[in-house]
Amino acid sequence: MSETATIEKPVYTKKDFSSGVEVRWCPGCGDYSILAAVQKALPEFEHLRENYAFISGIGCSSRFPYYMNTYGFHTIHGRAPAIATGLKIMRPELSVWVITGDGDGLSIGGNHFIHVLRRNVDINILLFNNEIYGLTKGQYSPTSNLGLKTKSTPYGAIDTPLIPARLAAGAGATFIARSADMLAKHLNETLHKANEHKGTSFVEVLQNCYIFNDGAFDPYLEKSVRDDRVIYLEAGKPMIFGKDKDKGIRLNHKTLTLEAVSLSEVAENEILIHDPYHNNTALHFMLASMGYGGDGLPLALGVIRSLQAPIYNDRLAEQETEVIAKKGKGRLTDLLKSGETWEVK
């Protein structure tokens, strides 16, 4: 809408984005902190409140839109990216946010997830990954660890989990980031970058399900180990981590794998410099995979990949402009008469 450009944005506070509806997640659920982070971040963005639309699927995370004082649509299981696509195609001026979970987004909605990414529809996807089905009371999800015992896997899960960020890289996502419910500041910064990105912004938020999978991310995020088990990726900065900033990530040229090295043994110029802007899918894929499968590497947090690429709506607009330039704006009467017609007098 052209008029939005001329309306001055009011000064919003966090409260302006709360619908006032009683929040019904379990006490202790990580979703609360994510809600707070989003409600805090939105007033900081450039959009008018009425131009936000939150579209969700089904699951604990997907209740999110009810708590937001924005336009919100709690849809059906897995299909939020497709519904958001239709919305965004018709209304490019809206700021569209898909709220999904690991089951919703990657299992039943896996197909829509990869396709929205490859199309680069200019929306933001927040995937709350708690590695479990919460709303249906505790079955394993497509991101659950191998061996996880749940109600539906009493002897342990036997299927290999997906790594969401890696799947996104494979699908050609132009923006991939990872943060966590408990990292308020980091999450805020990540949301800002997602909002700024033109194209589909995919943000995986590690989220603790207090009831059915409590502590799933403790091996990385628990305070005492965190500094050694995660790395905060920053564009243009060397990949250094550790409580004492004494470790780095290096590419082993012989095995073409990443390895963690001690800075006391390796020269700093051997440490990789993070470049999310360069289309290096292989490296981004490796970064997304770090920390999984007992590779001994830290889990990557932050923006893994952020590419400038044509977005769906721009390509569409370009095509429409081209056709109109060639054929003129269509009129129904002409269209009806197209093809072979004859007159009866």
């Binding site: 939005t4 619908s19 509806v21 008018l48 409140r49 009425e50 131009n51 639309a53 579209i55 089904i58 839109p65 009810y66 937001m68 924005t70 336009y71 919100g72 649509f73 709690h74 849809t75 059906i76 299909r79 497709a82 519904i83 958001a84 696509t85 239709g86 919305l87 965004k88 195609i89 018709m90 209304r91 001026e93 809206l94 197909n111 829509h112 990869i114 396709h115 569409l316 095509q319 429409e320 056709v323 109109i324 060639k326 054929k327 003129g328 704006k329 269509g330 009129r331 129904l332 009467t333 269209l335 009806l336 008469k337 093809g339 072979e340 017609t341 004859w342 007159e343 009866v344 007098k345």
Partner: protein, 625 residues
């Protein structure tokens, strides 16, 4: 009425100068391998006839496989065209002329031919190898099995090659021109001018001069061959019919549906969004609308059927016209999402171009077996509106009607078409601007007093709000809604209230649609009910019976959910009620269930439309006549 099969005497007469004889109607079926180009020959012949002013009805019939093994019966594709000097409603029960490009095409179609039918066949293809492929043990041209027909074997391939001998076309290209030779020959036989086809060739192959020249040459060669060869002593003319004045074009159901959707954008000033996934026989609607980028149309080929409807729901939510098009199996996949539109009361149109089922079924064949799926096929009490188009051109008007109801009542509307009307064509008088239905769409913009589920008193529709409207931020979703506020509610009383409100809203659509009009005298004892694409056939059957002195009345249901208000009253006037449909009795089930009356069923599930004769026989039998 003078038909071709009554012309034995004229056809038997030897004469040096070929007389032009007038007849009233002809049905021709073009049949060949999928690669023989018979669909094209049929369409071009149809256009030539339409331009002459005949009434026309066509029926393409093609195999599910794009190129089934050449020369085999399953690989045969056909195109039937019925043209006449008077009003007709069907593509004809039995072809008077069969053009069979090989033995398989002969075999596949012979059973449909009446005695004395003309068979023009490509004798080049009558080889031992092709007999084996078609399952013939002897040469049908020689074994006497065709003695009741007028067989005209022509070495079509050779004649075409000869005609193009001077060109630089290679053998394959020459062979591909044989459908133009056939078209030329048939144009001569029925006195159709070649100009429209020549114009079409020039346009179609514009820039490829040698192809244009060769095609025209083959076309003319066929025409002159008819004129000079000693095959036909006479040729025929079918006069143009008296049509209401206006501009006409020939149109298929899928084209008309697409045009209707474009019309809706002009009527409402809104943009149309089509979310679709390729599926036979609905894909042509996507192809058509995808061309109209300079109209207010956006098409989106989704990753699957569910995404297609989901994106259309997103478009409806955005404040635009959300449309999804599909066929049976795709429709099944969409049902859960359609239910979301039922719950969130968003205007959505779902066009289901029915085909033979269940499962993958008969992708290229017609059937009307998705009626109950459309009316009932969702979890919970899930009422919505179901319309059915009755002819190719009617698809235009039903597309508009579907969106009129969807936006007025804030409900999903299922528009049923079928493989038959989707692909068959009829001449259509283009509506003037005034003849196109008009309606307006309202959006809520007023924040004062806004409640997402506060309903219009008359229609019970909830307000439609575009995201982006300041002060109206609100949440909707698939969970049960509290009456008026739209907040999530698990309250038992509220749930029952809402279930009933949703049902009542759809019932009230009946106040907004035309009442049933009885066709026929209105005084008969017997009524025949149809719905969807069988309209023309049932009408012809009623007329045929009337000619025989058997008066029956007819109604055709264009609104299946809800039914028109006066349906019950109409049904009460009849002693015998027949319901004719291409399924095992789905409308019969609805009518019997709703009105507790007994009906006689006429059903067919062969992937083919009814024939007039079949209906006439079934009614006679049902009335013990």
């Amino acid at each position: 009425m003078k038909k071709l099969t009554d012309m034995s005497a004229e056809l038997d007469a030897g004469s040096s100068e070929k007389k032009l004889i007038e007849i009233d109607e002809v049905t021709i079926r073009f049949a060949g391998d999928s690669g023989d180009g018979m669909q094209l020959t049929g369409t071009r012949f149809t256009t030539a006839s339409a331009l002459l002013g005949n009434d026309i009805a066509t029926l393409p019939d093609y195999p599910a496989e794009i190129r089934a093994p050449a020369g085999t019966v399953p690989g045969v594709s056909g195109f039937q065209v019925h043209f006449s000097s008077h009003e007709i409603h069907t593509p004809g029960d039995t072809p008077d002329v069969l053009v069979a490009m090989n033995p398989a095409a002969l075999k596949a179609n012979l059973a449909d031919l009446p005695q004395q039918a003309i068979i023009i066949t490509n004798s080049d293809e009558y080889t031992a190898e092709n007999f084996a492929k078609a399952g013939y043990t002897t040469n049908p041209l020689e074994d006497g099995s065709l003695r009741n027909y007028r067989v005209i074997p022509i070495p079509i391939g050779r004649m075409t090659a000869e005609a193009l001998a001077e060109t630089d076309l290679n053998d394959k290209e020459k062979d591909r021109s044989k459908n133009m030779f056939v078209l030329g020959l048939v144009c001569w036989l029925f006195d159709r001018p070649l100009e429209p086809t020549i114009r079409w060739i020039e346009e179609k192959f514009s820039g490829k001069e040698r192809i244009i020249a060769a095609n025209i040459q083959a076309l003319k060669a066929g025409y002159h061959y008819g004129e000079t060869a000693e095959l036909f002593p006479v040729h025929f003319k079918v006069r143009k019919m008296q049509l209401p004045p206006g501009t006409y074009r020939n149109i298929t159901g899928n084209e008309a549906l697409a045009l209707g959707m474009v019309a809706v954008t002009e009527i409402t000033g809104l943009k149309l969004f089509l979310g679709s996934y390729p599926i036979t026989p609905a894909s042509d609607i996507l192809h058509e609308l995808a061309k109209y980028k300079n109209y207010n149309v956006r098409t989106f080929q989704a990753e699957d059927e569910i995404a297609a409807v989901a994106a259309a729901i997103g478009a409806a939510y955005s404040g635009n016209l959300g449309l999804t098009t599909t066929s049976g199996p795709g429709f099944s996949l969409k049902l859960e999402a359609i239910n979301l539109a039922v719950m969130t009361e968003l205007p959505l149109v779902i066009a289901n171009i029915q085909r033979g089922g269940p499962s993958t079924g008969l992708p290229t064949k017609t059937e009307q077996a998705d009626l109950l799926q459309a009316v009932f096929g969702r979890n919970g009490e899930s009422p919505l509106v179901v319309l059915a188009a009755k002819s190719p051109a009617d698809c235009f008007y039903k597309a508009i009607e579907a969106f009129r109801i969807a936006t007025k009542f804030m409900t999903p509307v299922v528009l049923l078409s079928d493989g038959f009307i989707a692909n068959s064509s009829e001449p259509w008088r283009l509506p003037s601007e005034e003849e196109i239905p008009h309606f307006t769409v309202n959006f809520r913009t007023e924040a004062e007093g806004f409640k997402p589920y506060l309903r219009d008193e008359e229609t019970l529709a909830r307000p439609w709000v575009k995201p982006g409207t300041p002060g109206l931020e609100h949440r909707i979703g698939g969970l049960e809604k509290q009456h008026i506020t739209g907040m999530v509610s698990y309250d038992p009383e509220n749930h029952e209230t809402m279930v009933k409100l949703r049902a009542e809203k759809i019932r009230r659509v009946a106040n907004d649609i035309p009442e049933i009009k009885v066709e026929g005298s209105g005084k008969a004892d017997t009524l025949i009910i149809g719905w969807g694409g069988t309209y023309g056939t049932i009408t012809d059957a009623r007329n045929t019976l009337a000619d025989e002195g058997i008066a029956i009345d007819q109604i055709h249901l264009e609104y299946l959910s809800p039914f028109p208000k006066n349906l019950k009253q109409v049904l009460e006037n009849y002693k015998n009620i027949f319901v004719a449909e291409l399924n095992l009795g789905q409308l019969a089930f609805l009518i019997q269930g709703k009105f507790a009356i007994k009906v006689k069923q006429i059903n067919k599930v062969k992937g083919q439309p009814f024939k007039v004769g079949e209906l006439v026989d079934a009614i006679r039998k049902g009335l013990s006549l």
